[in-house]
């Protein structure tokens, strides 16, 4: 009746708490993440399952939702603005899908650590699990929305761009960038609960400052050079080049996107490790 298997893991935990140097904490965090690695897929699957609980189409909605959204937008643009769908669909959606992923993940990811209070106060789980789960869940939906874009493209009779095969390479920096920023925001929100609202409003504004619905050429010349400082634009620029323009992004474009991701991840990791010990006291 009673399983008496020896526990697999024997661990040694030595903590000087707030006086541990960064290197010690970083390696402990890595150990801990490795030990709790099974939490991430388990939670992602459960999140997706819960989202579509009791719905007839279930997980299929992840594909259907962006497909319907894009179809409606295509109809609206072509009927009300007299645009030819083939001209704008790929351009708009190759910007809009990654933008939606980045902004939605960052906005709702602010609360990922705060909302995990009930776990964090009862179990010694690494706090990083929760932003990771959040980003992974949204990234799954993002990848499915790209699949929906392919379906839409085929339905509109657009030729398949060979360069689209490199799409996974363009998705990686987008996800890494989003993860870094989400880590930063999730930790900051523990201290300043107003951040979630500030982020939501700011991203709402940035949406209109980013060439998603309009081409870069529509921007007055004197402002145009500022666009290279828009990290969101730089991130989906790769994806847009591959899917919409059918060209390989230049070395410079790759480097900017990757550098931004590395910076975001580093800042996120540093802030997390800096505050990690204190978070449980602030929930």
């Amino acid at each position: 009746m009673f399983h008496m298997a020896q526990p697999v893991m024997t661990d040694v935990y030595l903590s000087h708490g707030f006086r541990d140097p960064l290197s010690v904490r970083a390696s402990r965090e890595l150990n801990s993440l490795w030990r709790y690695k099974d939490c991430v897929p388990t939670f992602v699957i459960n999140n997706l399952r819960r989202r579509y609980q009791r719905s007839v189409l279930g997980f299929f909605w992840s594909l259907l939702n962006p497909l319907l959204m894009m179809t409606i937008m295509t109809v609206v643009f072509s009927v009300f603005f007299n645009k030819e769908p083939r001209d704008f669909a790929l351009y708009v959606f190759s910007g809009l899908l990654p933008w939606s992923f980045m902004s939605a993940t960052m906005t709702s990811g602010c609360g990922s650590i705060v909302e995990a209070e009930s776990y964090l106060k009862k179990l010694p789980v690494p706090k990083l699990i929760f932003p990771l789960v959040h980003v992974a869940t949204e990234a799954t939906n993002f990848v499915l929305s790209l699949l929906a874009l392919a379906i839409l493209g085929a339905a509109l009779g657009l030729p398949f761009q060979l360069s689209s095969l490199l799409l996974p390479l363009a998705v990686v920096p987008i996800v890494a960038f989003t993860l870094g920023i989400t880590m930063l925001l999730a930790v900051s929100t523990v201290y300043f609960r107003d951040i979630a609202h500030i982020v939501a409003v700011s991203l709402g504004g940035i949406f209109y400052l980013t060439p998603i619905l309009y081409p870069v050429s529509a921007v007055p010349e004197r402002f145009r050079e500022w666009y290279q400082f828009n990290p969101f634009f730089q991130q989906f620029n790769l994806l847009r080049a591959l899917v919409c323009d059918g060209r390989l992004p230049s070395v410079q474009e790759w480097s900017i996107a990757i550098a931004l991701s590395v910076v975001a991840l580093s800042v996120g990791t540093f802030v997390y490790l800096w505050r990690e010990r204190d978070i449980v006291y602030r929930l």
């Binding site: 024997t10 030595l14 708490g17 388990t42 459960n46 399952r49 106060k121 179990l123 300043f192 602030r282």
Partner: protein
């Protein structure tokens, strides 16, 4: 290596925050000297210079009044609270049985929650399948296991949580008052499993207000009072001491506020 727990001069400082404490505005305002010390917060030592050395083979009962720091001590040993001063040294696999079941996701089924709770205890997924049926059987939830937990009674939740947490034998077992709900029959069954676990675990810390049970299972008792170890020794000496000097003693008069340190801006 033999399991052991060692706390050296461990001090934990808690801050209590009001509703509007952690705002961005106040953080910026502290840079302008005029508004400095505008906000005050209360800090107190949940643990104060705790020194403990617990070796393999010891079953330690932790007793004390509410707010004495018993649960905080267990959470510090399990790694939930990093110490502000001093150190915590633990060797061995730890299972914390602390506030069981409150981390259930009530939208999901019992079976899905078994998996969540299992991985949240830092355990690998594969051996779960073998254990799952044993967990369900012990919790007596065969008919309900594929229903969302929101339809469970609180007793059913407690049974499931207890069954998950105790399904595997740890080196170090941290138990914090886990028999608050559940019918008498299950509590009896749970206590017998608990005794079995205590027998087989190498090192146990057992927080309880049930002094009879403490006397029955423990071979060492720590009396906590206001965040410090008040006394430490054999159960037959410590329990009368606790009753005399703390529960009925003069110490009771100046109980609250426990260990208040200072008020002021802390950043």
């Amino acid at each position: 290596m033999k399991p052991h727990v060692k706390l050296s001069d461990t001090t934990l400082t808690f801050s209590m925050y009001g509703n509007s404490s952690a705002s961005l505005k106040e953080w910026f305002l502290q840079f302008t000297s005029a508004k400095r010390n505008h906000h005050t917060e209360l800090t107190f030592n949940a643990l104060k210079n705790v020194n403990l050395n617990i070796d393999a083979g010891e079953v330690v009962g932790v007793i004390g009044l509410n707010g004495a720091g018993k649960s905080t001590l267990l959470k510090t040993i399990s790694g939930i609270y990093p110490p502000h001063e001093g150190s915590v040294n633990v060797a061995g696999s730890v299972t914390p049985l602390i506030e069981l079941g409150t981390s259930f996701d009530i939208q999901l089924t019992g079976r899905e929650n078994i998996l969540i709770n299992w991985v949240m205890l830092g355990r690998a997924v594969p051996p779960l399948k073998e254990l799952e049926s044993q967990i369900i059987e012990f919790a007596e939830l065969q008919e309900f296991i594929d229903m969302p937990v929101k339809y469970y009674s609180s007793g059913m939740v407690a049974r499931l949580a207890f069954s998950i947490a105790t399904a595997i034998r740890p080196d170090i077992l941290l138990i914090d008052e886990v028999f608050s709900t559940g019918d008498e029959r299950f509590v009896e069954k749970a206590i017998s499993r608990m005794l079995q676990l205590i027998d087989s675990a190498n090192l146990v810390l057992f927080v309880s207000h049930n002094l009879n049970m403490v006397k029955q299972v423990c071979n060492r008792v720590i009396v906590m009072h206001r965040g410090s170890v008040f006394a430490d020794g054999k159960p037959e000496e410590m329990i009368p001491l606790y009753l005399d000097s703390i529960v009925h003693g003069a110490e009771r008069a100046n109980l609250v506020p426990a260990g208040v340190l200072k008020t002021g801006m802390r950043t």
